[in-house]
Symmetry: C2
Subunit: 262 residues, 2 copies
């Protein structure tokens, strides 16, 4: 598991790095849109959404993603249309029992995955460095949480949702996130002061855990462990995206607060 | 019941009519925002949302409505924030069981009510006549459905969701909506051709039923009959808003398609 994780990471990271930094922003947008569709599929399958609703939701998800690739962020109008369309579809294919549940996995899934992923497209537009910053900080925070937690972890963080997470791992995530943010800031000469970078890194160290816990909450609620097993040793696409999905809007908003170029 | 309906309508309609048409658009926006908050409260109470989530959702609903009053339509960013905020709140106040259900009544409620109501504010900005057109068409379609259905109704429309609705009532709704649309178009000299008006009236006659059926689906799913009993003989606020909530975005989009001034 451990070695498989490292090898997979070592093989996948360099080509992804060059793809993100050397090609125009739209290449990243298309890649992340495809991953978001795969993640949406995992999310809907996890909740065993019925085929007609599942496929309709995938089509709506693709519409949202295309609009984000073209226009930067989906408008609320698409979500109004999503709600109206899925509510009427739901009305005609099944009776009133579980109406809210059958609507909610699609609607929440569309906000959670295609919706939030649009922030990553905006960050890439602002500069490839912000994407490296986002994923680097979140993944190093995750890894720090994993290694600190598994060596020093004594106190459980939230066993009902994620039995292996510890308070020590959480502290590792925050420190690892802060360190990673500062390192990446200097490597890519990002326009943040040292103090601002430390604040952003600390916040992303926290949101990386929160994003993970929220995904665990959904998985436990749906009764599954990994969202799928597509990446050897790393679980599903959604398991890899969860921290960045949650952290991208936070990073985007913090950059606006700090007046950096986002 | 029947007489109470007519008397309540006769007392309430004239002051509302002058309020909508004689005062600047922001007065309508504030009125409909207050009604939307009341409707949101009914919706959340119907689903027995826990107090912390309920109050947080009301605060978020108020934020969405203030932003709509000021800016015309909420941005997707507010819904991204709503999702992130409520997901983290949900994570910390209860365990993973029913996570999706506890999140979905608030998130879907916020799209359904404060979100969709922003289209009514946009229509009022375009002209008070469109609000009269919207409510006049939907309510006359509703009344035609009720009177045609209760006198001529033989064939049930969708008994599992709404046991009293009939196919004959549905035809009444479509014909009533078309007639009402044409009448209101001439009374208010609205910039649509006769053919366009007939199409819009027909579509609103259909969406009035759909909006009603979707609200019935939610009510049956939650196990209640009326959303509340605040308006004598008319049920709750949400029962009065359901058709217009659903029809406002459709009217807005049709006016764009027809190049009318919306």
């Amino acid at each position: 598991m451990h070695i498989k994780r490292l090898i997979t990471a070592a093989v996948l990271i360099p080509p992804i790095y060059f793809y993100i930094t050397k090609l125009p922003p739209v290449y990243f947008s298309v890649l992340i849109a495809v991953l978001a569709l795969a993640g949406l599929w995992e999310y809907l399958s996890m909740y065993k959404v019925e085929p007609v609703m599942l496929w309709s939701t995938m089509v709506l998800g693709a519409m949202i993603l295309v609009s984000s690739v073209l226009a930067g962020m989906p408008s609320f109008e698409i979500f109004a249309f999503v709600f109206l369309g899925l509510a009427v579809l739901r009305l005609f294919i099944y009776g009133p029992e579980n109406a809210l549940r059958d609507l909610s996995a699609p609607v929440i899934g569309l906000i959670y995955i295609p919706g939030l992923v649009s922030y990553q497209m905006l960050l890439r537009e602002a500069g490839a460095g912000w994407i490296i910053f986002l994923f680097g900080t979140v993944w190093i925070a995750d890894s720090a949480a994993f290694y600190v937690g598994s060596t020093l972890g004594r106190h459980k963080l939230y066993p009902a949702v994620s039995p292996k997470k510890t308070v020590e791992g959480g502290i590792g995530s925050v420190l690892g996130g802060t360190g990673a943010a500062i390192g990446i800031k200097f490597l890519f000469s990002l326009p943040l002061s040292l103090g601002q970078t430390a604040v952003v890194g600390l916040v992303l160290g926290i949101t990386a855990i929160l994003g993970d816990l929220v995904e665990s909450m959904f998985k436990r609620n749906a009764g599954v462990k990994d969202s799928s097993h597509i990446i050897p040793g790393h679980g599903g696409i959604l398991d890899k995206l969860d921290g960045s999905l949650f952290s991208a809007p936070i990073l985007y908003w913090l950059l606006i607060v700090f007046g950096a170029n986002a």
